[in-house]
Every structure is written in C-alpha cells, then in structure tokens.
Amino acid sequence: MGRYVIRRLLQFIPTVLGTMFLLHYMTSLAIQFSGNPVRALFGDRTPSPALLAAVTERLGYADPCLDQKGNPCFGLFVDRVQNIFFHFDFGINMRQQEVTEMVADRLPFTLKLLVIAIIFEAVVGIAAGVWAGLRGGSFADNLVKISTVFVISVPIFVLGVLVREFVGVKFGNILRDQEWIPDVVASGFFSPGFKPDYPTASLLIPGMVLGAVALATTARLTRTSIMENIRADFVRTARAKGLANKRVIGVHTLRNSLIPVITYLGVDIGSAMAGAVVTETIFNVPGIGRMVTEAARTGEAAVVIGVVTMLVLVILIVNLLVDLLYAVLDPRIRYE
C-alpha cells in the first residue's frame, strides 16, 4: 500500500510538470501573439511606454522571451517551477495580489460548493440509480433516465439562470413574504445567489445546480452497476440465505455496485471544478473558478498557472484517495 502510494506520488511529477508546461507554453504564446496583458490595465487611456514598462516589469511580464513568437520560454518556466515548488511562490496577479492569497480567500467557497455538489449528486444520483436499476426497463427506470439526461442536456448556464430567477427570485420572494418561514430558508437557502450572511445555506442551491450536471452520469452508472450486480451469484446467495430484500439490496448489492460510482465521483471532482466556472458566475459565488476564468481571459499567466497547478495537485490527490478508498471497498484490490 505504502509503495503504491509512493509510486503514484512519483507519477504525479511528470503529470504536474507536464500540465504546468502546457499552460505555461499556452499562456506564453498568448502573450507573444496577443501582446502584453498589462496594457489592459490602462483601458482606453494609452499609457506612456515608460509607465507601461514599469508596470510590466513589476508584474513579471518583462521576460524578453515573451516578445519572441513561438519561444517556449524555458528559462521562465524553470523560474516558475522553482518559485512554486521551492519557495511556494505562485506569483502575483495584475492587481499585485499574491496568487496564494487569492486562492486562500476563494478556495473555501469553491470547496464548499464542490462538497455540496458531490454530496447532492452522490445521494440523489445513487438513490435514483438504485431505484431505476431495481426496476430495469420499467416506468421508474425510464423516468429516471429521461429526467437525468434532460438535466444534462440543458446547458448549465441556462439551467443556472432559470433556477436563479424562478427558484431564487420568484419562488423565494413568495417565501420571504411568509412570516413563519425562518430566514435561513427564505433568505438563505432560497437566495438567488451566494449571500455573505448565510454563507452555507445560500450555497446549497448553486451546489445542486453544479451537481445536477453529473447527477445523470452517477444515476446511470449506479443503474447499470446495480443491474449487473443484482444478477450476480453472490446476490443469489444472499437471497438463499433468507435475508430480507432490504438487506440483500442495501448490503450485498449496493456496496459492490458503488465501486465504479465512487471512482467516477472521484474523477468528477475535476470536471465539477470546471463546471464551477459557470455556476459561480451565475450565482455570484466568489470562488476560484470564476477567478481563474477571468485570469485566463486577461492573460494573467501567473494566476492561471499557479491556480491550475494547485487544482491539478488537488485533483490528483483526490484521485489517489479515491483509489485507496476503492481498495477499502473492494478487498480484492490490494496495492502492493
């Protein structure tokens, strides 16, 4: 097990460096072809070259390789890697904030959102999947299938805006007029977006919208998995042991069926992070997804690379944990 972990951790190195280099090269190319991102700071008012140069220097975009189209800027890359891994210095953004600080400010919101999303998709997705799986081909099965697939085929930004307007504003306003409904529910949970007064309650709906995206996959995966296992010999054995149906399903089928689902959920954290970009914008969650999207647009290389490096590390570690959890769930898998 220890060996397995070490080996996996060693495998992270090329992955993380590769991802960093890819981003580094892309952002460098962006600067080389689109020009100095610092220029945007001055908006309509053209700065004097001296001022521009001073700011560029200060923000770390002055490396001459950034003027040579196609130059992969290896020197800059090595500097960045050194700063990140040896000095824990992820650079600064255009407004001279430390990336580490920005991430520290914003990561909690995104994490909360993700946790809500994952719990939502896990609980609802698995429940729906089990329900559908036990009644393969029936009305319930089709209902779950169609409704979950419907959710994923509506683009998330449409879904998000609709939920915000109809649930948060329209329905929420009705509730807010009701005296007897506690504020946490009326103004917190049904707030049309993130609200600092109710930092958790107001994230529940955005989290669900984010989770809805992967809900369908979770449900479908569970369904298939349940349908497979329900015919397995060991389930038949459990029946033959005279166990109640609840136990046959809940203990002997579910745990085996959850193995692929758990794997998927682990992998999904990465995609949920991506989906968070849109959700955060629509529900005004001051999270990391929104921040990094903005950075990517304005060409803030340091932010993009810094944040994504952190994200990738998080994703990889989560995946490792999921793999280990996998071994706990399925004793047949033992990592030597």
Binding site: R3, I6, R7, L10, E336
Partner: protein, 336 residues
C-alpha cells in the same frame, strides 16, 4: 530417431515476480514449468494430466510458440526452434497447431467461419494461393464434419461442439503434423464430448497426426492417449504408456489422482480404496524443497525434503517415475 516429431529438453518457464517503485527488480518467480523433458513420436498421442495450475497450459503455450521458454530447447522435427530463424522457424511453427479449451471464447465473434479457418492462409500466404483458399476452407469444414455451405456464418450460430470443430479445422489448415489440444473437451457436455473425441481420432487415422492431449478428465485421456505424462507443480511426476500409468502407477501422486476419480458404476461404491489427499497444491512461486509432492504425500520421509527425485525408472517401477519410493500399489479400477 526420425520418427520423433517433437522433443522438449529441460523446458523451463518462470514468470518473474517483480517489485519496485521506479525500477523493477525481480524478487522471485512463478515456476510454472520447471524442467520438462518430452518426446512425441509420429502418429502418437501423448496425454498430459495434472491438477489445475500445474503448468499444463504453460507447457502447451511454449510448445506452440506463444510463450518463449526461460530456458531449455525445443526441437520440432530435429530443428532447434531457438536456433533457427526466419522462414525456417515459421515453417517449424506451422507444423504445430493449437486447439484451445473453450470453444466459446477461442473464436473471434466478429469473423465468419470462413475468415477464421482461412486466417492461417492470410498469415502464411505462401502456403496457398489466394484463389484456392476458399475451396480449401470448405474442404476443411467438410473434413471436420461441418456443412461447407456454412462458410459465411458466424461462430455464435454454432453449438459448442460445432465450434470446437471450427477450432480443429483452423488448426488443420496449415497441414501440421502435430496438434496440441489444451483441454479440448472440458467445456463440452458429455454427449458432445464424445463426438469431438471421435473426430480427433478419425483425423489422426486419416492424416497421421501426432497429438499432445491435455486434459484433466483422466478417463478421456485414457481413452485417447498412447502414452501419458502426469504433471505436478511444473514437473513431470510420472510418464509411461497408458497401461503403465493406469494399471501400475508408481508415483504416489498418480495413485492418489487415479483413486480420486469417481467411477460411473454404483456397484463399486465403497469398494474402491480411495486416497483423499489433504490440503491444496502448494504455490508454484514457492514450491517445496526436494520432492514437490512431499507436503501431501503419505510416504514422505526425510530424503524427500532434501533430494529431488529424478524422473527415472526405479526398481519398483518399470517406467520413469519421479519418486524415491516408486512402487506399484493396487487400486481398484473402473470397468474391469
């Protein structure tokens, strides 16, 4: 000795067990086949029996060239397969063909019978010019008792026994002298099994084939084989003619094996002197010292742990037997 078509000398196959994080180092080996000497004469059938995992299939795979031996030599019609190269080796290989155990999995479900049986000609185009292939395939189908008009059907349209015939036809395509049958009938029903065995015998008569016939059903081997080798943990425990092995087994393992075979005759119930072996076969990764059978042997003495018995004829036995105390023991047999 020109009538020896196949000879194995000290054939060894070890599967390495590795460990290591970056650089794998070998920490041991599964000694699947651990020094086997065999000779197969023209027109003869050599049966190989033994418990699951004793290395029968590995031996077979080495003989047909699917696996390279760790050490030892393999002579096909006097040619050392390891020494000759290129065309001659291909020709040598053409001479040994394989019939696999499971007729359901050994045929590509997406290929027609014609394609499957004709594949050897595509791989060895020199054997037969293209225009004549189809006719030859039909001939082969006819030979194994299938309707030649079924050349465009897919394997799933056939029953297990018929599929095994397709496998046999494929093996016959290149006009080999030797056919290796790795448990060709274990997956078949008793009633179908007899059909396939009859076919194999018929083909041997007509084409003068030599067979190596692997099986764990001792009565089938007895029926078809001229000589029988008994394997235990990667080694041959005893080898001799069918009569010698079945009537006068001298190795305790052979004796136990034979006594364990249930006899389809209720009258003999309780009359047989059954030896029920205790315990399981030891792991081939870590075989016992000296005689490999000693851990389950009722005759074992100190010498068995220290000195490995050679496969030789001993005073107590007229044929080669790898036991220090080889002697004939009376066993009540079926159908006497």
């Amino acid at each position: 000795m020109s009538d020896i078509v196949l000879e194995a000398r000290d054939l060894v196959k070890h599967f390495p067990l590795t460990r290591g994080i970056l650089f794998k180092r070998q920490i041991g080996a599964v000694r699947a086949v651990d020094g086997i000497n065999l000779q197969l004469r023209r027109g003869e059938t050599l049966g190989v029996v033994g418990e699951s995992g004793c290395g029968k299939s590995t031996l077979a795979r080495m003989l047909v060239g699917l696996e390279t031996p760790t050490s030892g030599d393999l002579f096909v019609q006097g040619r050392n397969m390891a020494k000759v190269g290129g065309a001659e080796r291909r020709r040598g290989r053409r001479n040994i063909q394989l019939v696999m155990q499971d007729p359901y999995t050994s045929l590509n479900p997406r290929m027609t019978v014609g394609d499957i049986v004709g594949e050897p000609f595509v791989v060895h185009p020199e054997v037969l010019p293209r225009p004549r292939r189809r006719a030859r395939v039909q001939e082969l189908l006819d030979l194994v008792g299938l309707n030649p008009d079924h050349i465009n059907r897919y394997p799933h349209q056939f029953s297990g026994g018929q599929r095994q015939r397709i496998g046999i036809a494929r093996a016959l395509a290149l006009n080999p002298e030797i056919i290796l049958c790795d448990e060709p009938v274990s997956a078949l029903d008793v009633s179908i099994q007899a059909q396939v065995i009859n076919l194999l015998e018929k083909l041997q008569d007509e084409l003068g084939l030599s067979y190596i016939f692997i099986a764990h059903d001792l009565s089938v081997v007895r029926h078809i084989a001229d000589r029988v080798a008994v394997m235990y943990l990667g080694k041959i425990a005893e080898i001799g003619t069918e009569d010698q092995i079945y009537e006068n087994p001298t190795h305790p393992y052979t004796q136990a094996l034979l006594s364990a075979v249930p006899v389809p005759d209720p009258k003999l119930r309780g009359l047989r002197d059954q030896i029920v072996l205790a315990g399981d076969v030891p792991s081939p990764a870590n075989p016992p010292s000296g005689c490999r059978f000693r851990t389950r042997c009722w005759k074992a003495q100190d010498i068995c742990g220290q000195q490995e018995p050679t496969l030789d004829a001993r005073p107590g036995s007229a044929h080669p037997s790898a036991c220090h105390f080889a002697e004939v023991r009376d066993v009540v047999h079926a159908r006497e």
